[in-house]
């Protein structure tokens, strides 16, 4: 299973990954300005930049082989996409109980503030080609690969 890996040494904490992640999950996936200026509520980014200068890195769902979130999900909303292997959340079935948030040791699942009471997590931008965070990182600090560092 491929994962997105953060290269701490190249991350400068610019948060462009968060910006592009929000945009790509908004009603205007291809337009940053509209995504931020026209969305009623800008979607919560599904990647989180953590920073304690000089250290910073971006973190998102690990798409685990043994996903704690999926096992913990009380509704069955969290599932593994058979084709890609990605762990996805079905917003229709999610009730926003937050059990997956307390189950995920990586802190990779977020409360989505743009929708009422559901969780947001990395979906690898499956319908967009490469993940937006990886594509738009100016320093190549995010890499998608099998078993990186």
């Amino acid at each position: 299973m491929k994962k997105i890996y953060a290269q701490e040494k190249y991350c400068i904490g610019c948060r462009l990954c968060e910006v592009y992640c929000s945009a790509v999950h908004s009603e205007y996936p291809n337009d940053l300005v509209k995504a931020f200026n026209r969305s009623k509520i800008v979607p919560t980014p599904r990647v989180k930049v953590e920073e304690d200068r000089p250290l910073s890195f971006a973190m998102q769902c690990r798409h685990c082989d043994e996903p704690h979130c999926l096992k913990a999900c009380i509704t069955g909303a969290m599932y593994r996409d058979e084709e890609s292997g990605a762990i996805l959340n079905d917003a229709e079935r999610c009730v926003g109980c937050w059990t997956c948030i307390v189950a995920c040791p990586y802190g990779g699942i977020f409360r989505d503030e743009s929708k009422s009471k559901v969780v947001a997590k990395c979906d690898y931008c499956l319908d967009q080609g490469d993940p937006a965070c990886v594509k738009n990182c100016p320093n190549g600090a995010l890499k998608i690969e099998e078993g990186g560092e």
Partner: protein, 420 residues
């Protein structure tokens, strides 16, 4: 080879999905006394409030049984297991043979010794049928007494209140949510619910329930009486283990299971709320009746039924729950049982409270009220049992991140699959 699973909830579904990872051919039979497609038990509180209907509380899609090649006998009760013949006796006298059996019969309501605690207008809140019955009577303007101020009691109380039913909660414990919260956290929840109009009699217990015309009078141990239209007994759940009574399957509080989720009888497994297994934080065997553990135990049982060597590492309680928008997550031991444990917490406010319980430098429990975000990072530390002495201020701050962890733990988490 015939797999038989008694039960149709999280543990059963975990087992089915796991068996089919390893064995796509041999038949699986699921038997349940409930007539429904697999549904999520915790979602019955969403059904009661009207946020979800019967269709949308289903735990797996409609095509689940077809897809996983599962035969079902729904609405059929298993009366007995005859271990020496590897057979089940059903309520219609039918005999079912099995090679591998999973008992995933869940929990049933604990009925305290209250005089008059059965009969009409007295309800429980465990199954969909319970919620359907309650939904019928939960009409605006009615009143209810809920006996039990734990997870089930408060969820049903909240649901009734949202249906404009006046609710009084009675609990023997001096605080609410005794099993998952400490006194300070429970105080925040109580205030929130009182503001919504809920009334409480804590530190006392219901002794009698008597008819009073069309209504009920609940007599309390402290001498008070509460009159209401109906009563919900929601004191807790106990393992639904009638199936294994009078067999050689070893039972303690729940059905005793080993690391493979096997019982004392070969070929018979148990998982979920009916099973007792190792609590890694309490250091002893316990029943931990929560859905995530049920699913995971079912998965392990299923793998072993299919001939794998899968190990259940033990579990601990973790809960995410909310009332009227007050969200909280708690895990493990939330009140220090003795002086070998230390407690550290934020100053509780009206709607926020963060706390950790530490033993020998390791995290053994936490409470986070209105500070849900990224709380799983703490859950990971509970699982890993690494020394967190230097992290305590961060652990009770709202902004917990992987960046707060020591470098080795941080790197391992960034890599993924580091916490099993």
């Amino acid at each position: 080879m015939q797999y038989v699973i008694v039960g149709n909830s999280a543990a059963a579904i975990g087992a089915v999905e796991s068996i089919r990872n390893y064995d796509t051919e041999n038949p699986i039979l699921v038997i349940s006394d409930e007539p429904y497609h697999t549904y999520s038990r915790p979602l019955i509180s969403y059904y009661l409030t009207g946020l979800r209907d019967e269709e949308s509380i289903m735990y797996r899609p409609k095509n689940f049984y077809d897809r996983y090649k599962v035969e079902t006998m729904l609405g059929r009760r298993v009366e007995a297991v005859v271990t020496e013949k590897k057979q089940l006796k059903l309520d219609n006298q039918e005999i079912i043979s099995y090679n591998k059996l999973l008992i995933a019969t869940g929990g049933k309501p604990f009925l305290p010794p209250i005089e008059g605690a059965t009969g009409p207008d007295i309800y429980n809140f465990i199954k969909l049928d319970d919620a359907k019955d309650l939904k019928e009577v939960a009409q605006p303007g009615k009143s209810a007494v809920v006996i039990g101020g734990g997870l089930i009691g408060l969820k049903v109380a909240e649901g009734l209140l949202k249906n404009e039913v006046a609710v009084t909660v009675v609990d023997l414990a001096p605080q609410l949510l005794n099993s998952i919260l400490d006194a300070a956290g429970a105080g925040i929840v109580k205030k929130c619910l009182e503001k919504k109009g809920m009334e409480f009699h804590l530190g006392t217990t219901a002794k009698t329930i008597q008819n009073f015309g069309e209504r009920k009078i609940v007599g309390l141990a402290d001498g008070k009486e509460v009159v209401a239209d109906f009563v919900v007994v929601a004191v807790g759940v106990v393992p639904n283990k009638h199936l294994v009574e009078d067999t050689d399957i070893k039972v303690n509080r729940g059905i005793v299971t080993d690391h493979a989720m096997g019982t004392s009888v070969e070929g018979i497994f148990a998982a979920g709320d009916v099973a007792e297994n190792y609590d890694v934080l309490f250091g002893q065997n316990r029943v931990i009746p929560i859905l995530p553990n049920a699913y995971e135990q079912g998965q392990v049982a299923g793998a072993n039924m299919a001939g794998q060597k899968s190990v259940y590492p033990g579990g601990f309680a973790k809960n995410a729950i909310g009332f009227f928008g007050l969200s909280m997550v708690t895990a493990g031991i939330t009140t220090a049982p003795d002086e070998t444990f230390q407690e550290y917490s934020s100053q509780p406010t009206e709607d926020r409270y963060l706390k950790v319980v530490i033993k020998e430098g390791k995290l053994v429990g936490f409470v986070r009220i209105n500070a849900v975000d990224r709380s799983g990072i703490l859950t990971g530390l509970l699982m890993q049992q690494k020394d967190v002495t230097d992290l305590i201020p961060q652990l009770i701050s709202e902004e917990i991140g992987l960046i707060d962890l020591p470098q080795d733990l941080r790197k391992a988490r960034l890599k993924g699959d580091a916490v099993q």
